[in-house]
Amino acid sequence: MTSSYDFAIFGGTALAALLAGLLAHDHGRQVLLIADPVSPQRLPRGLDLALPLATRPQSWRLLARAAAELRALLAGLEAAAALERVDVGVVADLPATEHALAHLTQVAAGYGLASRRGVFRDVPRLVGPIELGDSRVAVLPRQAVQLRFARGGAAELVVAGEAAGVGQIVIADDAALLEFVPEAQRPPLLAAIAMTATLTKPARRLAAPVMLYPDRGVTLVQRPDLSVLGLVAGDAEIEARLASTLPGPFPLRRLATSRFRRVVTQDGAPLVGRIRPTKLLLVTGLGNAGAFLAPAIARHLAGVPAEGEKSWFAAHDPARPSREPVADLVAGAA
């Protein structure tokens, strides 16, 4: 195995795997993906859905283009089954959210995503592991590498006790960010919030297989057997908020529960860019849509952004000069 890489990507998510694969496959880079295998029995910590609760047309344009590329890529790899289409209901409780959602609905319609009475139809969703299978991607488990910091603060990757030559270290999932980036060095817009994932016994049918309740901080995914995976943001009144979104029957047995932390941005907009002094490149705050943005992010990392992408990434760079909030997404979504 080579000890010199253009990119070392920390992350066990679909986004991280796609980034690694695309950088190698489309851009010819040597990539080290640092990820532990995730057993299918573990509760998911999110879902990959091409429905960002975003209102900025620029974000939707970026997503629409990247999602189409991803669809074509998976079809070419005979991995189209990894992409399914699902109806997604969005429920707003507060007037302000209702307004934002009304606008989002119009913007989404402008990019071909139809909705009716709060249910978005045929939203692309990634399911299953994504591996592009490129020989230029090496994979190591998390325990096999360390990250150390030079006197100036720059991060350095250590593999088997020796420094590995890495052009850019990318932190592409929340667990890695929370582990490696000290709080003082995180962009001020970033915050870590508590998350709870719960799997219930089969419940009554939801209005749509995926339901988003941004004001209650709850996301529901109903499986074919009618069991429900609930993702709840925040650590207050978790059970009450989750149960308020479920149709019963009550009492409803929980089969599994896990707790973890997620990184969010205070303005709801993604952050993609390098931070000082570690020179780590963060890809965070992308919400459910992150994996679908992978082709665009890979182009950005490879230095070949498509038209319109450069300005989007500049606006979402943690080091952007204005440091003004982008205010892109509806806040509070789990």
Partner: protein
């Protein structure tokens, strides 16, 4: 069937009084038993050995899978903790088939009733300084030490009797025997006024300083269940360890028993599942059980060991007793009364043996379910092939086999040490060495056979998690089955779960939290900021956006959120010059760019289609 009353090694049953026969009905069938029986032990003694069917395969009835029962319309009770009652008419609860073999309770698996006491309000609350959960040797030692120090202690034991699994292993060298240790500690504890003992009491919830248990109260004319809350300053979890079930097709058939279950059934109630048995093991202690069954009158057809040419004092005793042994073979498949074994190395002919019962032994998994419910963590230990506890829970300590100790001496010492540490006293050192075992072949991992046609379960518990069948249909991701610790351990060994994930999965599945109750929670509506500039539109239409009242005719209203375009623009959202931000009696109030405010014609894009618009003359 019952062994003889005077069977060797007390395998006539030390809980039952053969001088006091009784009879009751279960689902209309007459069951004969003795005072001291549970409903379950009497049913098994009568030959009812089948819970029901799963995928057309019979599923064995036993301590870890038995239906709830009731007398008339009384509250449900656990079959394995409820005493047999002369003249009673019990019915089992759950969906049942109308027809089926007489030895089956004919339950439909998948429609198991949840114990209602999980949601019942406690009828009393007890307050103690120390709650000890588990009446094995570690729990007894912890309770005895605390009570000796004058602390109020409540010891809770699920079974009707004390001692846990220690007796299964027997004595080592010159050490005090498990029987003697249990007898001594039980007697001491009974004499301590600060100690209270509850048997037939299963603890099911634990949070902070409060625990909740369900007990079958046998003090009245008929057994009744009661839920008790216990508020304790400190708690010792001495919940023991579960023997793993080897994974092979047919491993939950009625004729298959775990060695520990077979031991307790014979020792306590004098019950075996048939007159002949095959014992399949990967360790030494099952030979001890085999010898005892043989001495008690069971025809031992074979003792089959996974290990190749194992050495143990128990093996020497078995040989000396004339028992037929085989080594290097694992159970391949079970049938109603025929059991097939295959060479471990994968070459050579398989062998099959006929017997009424297959007794199987696997490794040991510390019982840490309550530990996880209390907030403790677990991790996979490859050397032990088991999930072991990790982390710390305030005011709570593990002891005995649950803490990972193996020898009798260490389990007893760990009970005392746990209670000492909880109360800030110096704990005694614990040495976990089994004297005389260094010359013996160590136990092998729990056997796993190749997949076959029949279902193979991952463990013996009520989760009924099946080994995935090879083929195009993959195991559903994060399946809806709960997973017990034994299921997770088997999944790791089968490669279904990454070892690094095993602890997290066990915690997710092992402590999912209480049932969800109906909720009408809604967010509090915060004061709405001035509607001029919703946060999501900040800088969207430039630094100095303008508000315009757009109309099309005297009736039509524009929905909030609709995009506003210049007439000449391509209608893509990024080209919008504004959007409707406020309702109006006709048309709508739009926020537009400063430049767009100078236009006099617009297009408003709505769900209903495009609409021309102009600035209204207010």
């Amino acid at each position: 069937m019952r062994l003889a009353a005077d069977a060797a090694h007390e395998f006539g049953g030390i809980e039952i009084d053969r001088g006091r026969p009784l009879s009751f009905r279960l689902d209309g069938r007459r069951i004969a038993g003795f005072a001291g029986d549970t409903v379950l032990s009497a049913a098994l003694a009568t030959g009812i050995d089948t819970f029901g069917t799963l995928a057309s395969q019979p599923l064995g009835l036993g301590e870890r899978l038995a239906p709830l029962i009731r007398i008339g319309q009384s509250e449900p009770l656990p079959m394995e903790r409820t005493p047999a009652l002369d003249g009673a008419a019990f019915t089992s609860i759950g969906r049942r088939r109308r027809f089926g073999p007489p030895h089956s309770l004919r339950h439909v698996v998948g429609a198991l009733a949840d114990p209602p006491w999980l949601r019942a309000a406690p009828e009393e609350t007890r307050t103690v300084e120390l709650l000890v959960i588990g009446g094995g040797v570690a729990g007894l030692a912890a309770a005895d030490a605390a009570a000796a120090a004058g602390r109020s202690v409540l010891l809770v034991e699920r079974r009707p009797w004390l001692g846990g699994g220690a007796r299964y292993f027997g004595a080592v060298g010159d050490d005090e025997t498990p029987d003697a240790v249990v007898e001594r500690l039980s007697r001491q504890l009974a004499d301590r006024p600060a100690a209270t003992l509850l048997t037939r009491a299963e603890l099911f919830a634990i949070s902070g300083n409060t625990a909740v248990l369900h007990q079958v109260d046998t003090t009245g004319p008929a057994p009744r269940g009661r839920v008790i809350a216990v508020v304790a300053q400190r708690m010792v979890l001495a919940t023991g360890a579960q023997q793993r079930l080897p994974v092979f097709p047919g491993n939950r058939l009625p004729a298959v028993s775990r060695a520990i279950d077979a031991y307790h059934l014979a020792k306590r109630y004098g019950v075996v599942r048939g007159a002949s048995a095959v014992v399949a093991t990967q360790g030494n202690h099952a030979y001890r059980l085999a010898l005892r069954l043989h001495d008690a009158g069971v025809a031992l057809r074979r003792i089959v060991d996974t290990r190749i040419n194992p050495q143990s004092r128990f093996i020497d005793f078995a040989k000396a007793s004339g028992l037929t042994l085989a080594s290097g073979q694992i159970p391949l498949a079970a049938g109603r009364d025929r059991f097939v074994f295959a060479p471990v190395a994968g070459s050579g002919a398989s062998a099959s043996f006929e017997a009424a019962e297959l007794v199987v032994a696997g490794g040991w998994q510390p019982e840490l379910t309550l530990w996880m419910r209390a907030g403790g963590g677990v991790r996979w230990d490859a050397d032990r092939s088991a999930l072991l506890a990790q982390g710390h829970v305030e005011h709570l300590a593990l002891a005995g086999a649950a803490a990972g100790y193996r020898s009798l001496r260490a389990c007893v010492a760990s009970g005392r040490a746990a209670q000492a540490a909880l109360f800030g006293e110096a704990p005694e050192p614990i040495e976990d060495v089994e004297a005389g075992t260094h010359l013996e072949t160590p136990d092998a991992p729990t056997p796993i056979a190749p997949a076959g046609d029949m279902p193979a379960f991952l463990d013996s518990g009520p989760t009924l998690a099946l080994r995935p069948v090879p083929g195009p249909a993959p195991e559903p991701a994060h399946g809806t089955h709960a997973l017990g610790l034994g299921d997770v351990a088997a999944s790791v060994e089968l490669g279904l779960i990454a070892a690094a994930d095993a602890g997290a999965i066990a915690e997710e599945r092992g402590s999912p939290g209480n049932d969800l109750q109906a909720s009408d929670w809604r967010p509090l509506a915060a004061p709405i900021a001035a509607p001029d500039l919703p946060p999501y539109l900040r800088k969207r239409y430039g630094d100095d956006p303008r508000r315009l009242h757009l109309v099309v005719d005297g009736k039509r209203r524009f929905p909030i959120g609709a995009l506003v375009y210049a007439v000449t623009a391509t209608r893509r959202p990024e080209n919008a010059v504004g959007s409707i931000v406020e309702a109006a009696p006709v048309g709508g109030i739009a926020l537009v760019t400063k430049a767009a405010a100078k236009l006099d014609r617009f297009i408003v894009e709505t769900d209903a289609g495009s609409s021309p618009a102009r600035i209204g003359r207010d």
